[in-house]
């Protein structure tokens, strides 16, 4: 006996922890990981619903999301490296050229 809302609530909690992670941390790597966490929380919701509705589309969707997450992580990390190379720091607040 599975109570779907419980799983969704767990996913939401994970999602919000991811949000907190994005807002609080000043380390770019952790920022990325928090975003990845939020992504996974979303996947969890998808799977919970596909289970609730007995549809496999949720799974297909999660599969695609994972590939996108992978691509995004790769490019993101490449950027981190270039950023680090220019500024020798990974503190995100240093990169504020857009400041008025």
């Amino acid at each position: 006996m599975l109570s779907i809302p419980a799983y969704i609530i767990v996913a939401l909690v994970l999602f919000c922890i991811g949000t907190i992670g994005v807002l609080i941390t000043r380390n770019i790597i952790i920022l990325f990981m928090s975003i990845e966490l939020m992504l996974n929380a979303a996947n969890l919701v998808l799977i919970a619903f596909s289970r609730a509705l007995n549809l496999m589309d949720g799974h297909a969707f999660v599969f695609l999301v994972l590939t996108v997450a992978a691509a995004e992580a790769a490019v993101g990390l490449a950027m981190v490296i270039t950023l680090y190379r220019n500024r020798e720091t990974i503190n995100i607040d240093r990169f504020n050229i857009l400041k008025w």
């Binding site: 994005v22 504020n96 400041k99 008025w100």
Partner: protein, 644 residues
Amino acid sequence: MSEYLFLVPLLPFIGFLINGLLLGRLPRPVVSFIACASVGLSFVIALLLFFDLKAMPADMRLIEQTLFTWIPAGSFHANIAYMLDPLSAVMILVVSGVGFVIHIYSVGYMHHDPCFGRYFTYMNLFTFAMLTLVLADNFLLMFVGWEGVGLCSYLLIGFWYEKKSAADAGKKAFIVNRIGDFGFLIGMFIIFWQIGSLDFQTVMAEAPHVFIAGGGLITAVCLLLFMGATGKSAQIPLFVWLPDAMEGPTPVSALIHAATMVTAGVYMIVRTNVLYMMAPDAMLVVAIIGVATAFFAATIGLAQNDIKRVLAYSTVSQLGYMFLACGVGAFTAGIFHLMTHAFFKALLFLGAGSVIHGMSNEQDMRYMGGLKKYMPITFWTMLIATLAISGIPGFSGFFSKDEILWKSFSSQFGHPVFWVLGVITAGLTAFYMFRLINMTFFGKGRMDDKTRKHLHEAPRSMTVPLIVLAVLSVVGGYVGLPHVFFGATNYFEHWMAPVLSGGQAASHALASGGGDTGTELGLMAASVLLVLIAIYFAYLLYNKSPERATSLREKLSGMHKMIVNKYYVDEIYGATIVRPLVYFSLFLWKVVDVVVIDGFINGLAGAYSDVSGYLRTSQTGRVRSYATVFVVGVVIVTAYFLFG
């Protein structure tokens, strides 16, 4: 002959155009010939028209001529139309006659002046404007002449524009005239508003039906028109410009500020006598201001040292007499005095001109004296004029002034107080006139010897006009002999009667006032006696023992200082009107315009940029703060959907 009426004003205008357009190119003799010829010719035509008019039966004496419609605006039709009736006949004779004489005189007087052409251009323009004023057949055309003469007096007073005082005097004259014109304009509007037309004929005919006699509106109209008259003829509130107008060349003072322009106010009141007869309290105001101005100006005249200023105040005073005459209903006497005054006052001014000419532009009487032997003709002609103005029997001044005094005593609107003040003023007039004669012509010369060497009699072209005017100022009086003298018929009164026929009520009132000749003779004797005493005093103080005059002056020093400084009238006007007006406009400009309105707008712009400045700080450049804003947005949106 009547179709040449329009030529009378037109000729000086043509003279003006020729001299004006070819200003620098005409040789002097040609310029002076054109100027004098045009005025002379118009005088001849005026004379012919006068005889035409005389030939007509008494009550139909009217020549009319309409040239073209000037402003056709719906119900309002103003056209350029000239009208000649006995009143304007007298006026054009005086204007063109005296004008012609003065033109001849000024040829000599202005001989050495560089702007010779410009002077005669303005003089011709003035004559045109004055003739238009006098010949106009409706209020609007009269107003055209009215402002035209105002303009010419501005130009001629400020003729030597390099002198700041002259330019100021010109400006002052124009603005004070404009204040008068303000009243005149509003009077005209009320007339048009009520009667619907501005032509004299219709206005005089309709007035009794439209206005209620003695009512508020008619009094307002008369007072407003009188305000215009005071502006132009320099009466109490608005007389300040005339003494300063002496900055202009002397012939100008003679023509404009003695003989013609200043009398325009009197002419206007006589022209609209029908209206005035319907508003007795307006007449009272006119009389009061007239006699007050006469007395007030005479007192100031006592202590003036500049020869022309004495004459200026004497003009103001004599004008006061004329307004007194109009005020008490004796319009004929007013016009008669206007005519005689034109003659002897022009003569006085021209005489003063030749004195100044001889004294190489020295105007202060304290440096004159003993000129009798150097300038015999000027002396004798001025003596005649002085006798005339003081009202010595046998001279024109006596007849006209005495007529006014008698009417002010006896007429229906008159009052003994007017007579008393009038007689005292006559005395004062005699005193300051003879003071002038004694100080300039008698006693020992007080001028430095450089000017003494230059002393010479004026050239023929200046003395002939003096003689002509002297003859006129003697003969002029006999035209209007009061019938109290061995029953002589008063030609002038008969001549003027039709013009006043409009106010029938008025004319018979005048006649009844005739009353017993005994009192008239008695009053006449009293005034002559007072005049003789004044003459003796003047002789005593300024001829026999000048030191007594100085001692008298110390005793009355307070009063004397008051008079010398003209009761500080100019300073009072300056402080109460001019300076506050300037400060108020400065306030308006600096505060209202710049601070309030511009401040508001620039403030708006400033506020706008401040707000945008504040909003700009939200762009911190830090990615995390943007992320926070994202999340806040999401929260708000979900909240809206949840609870909205």
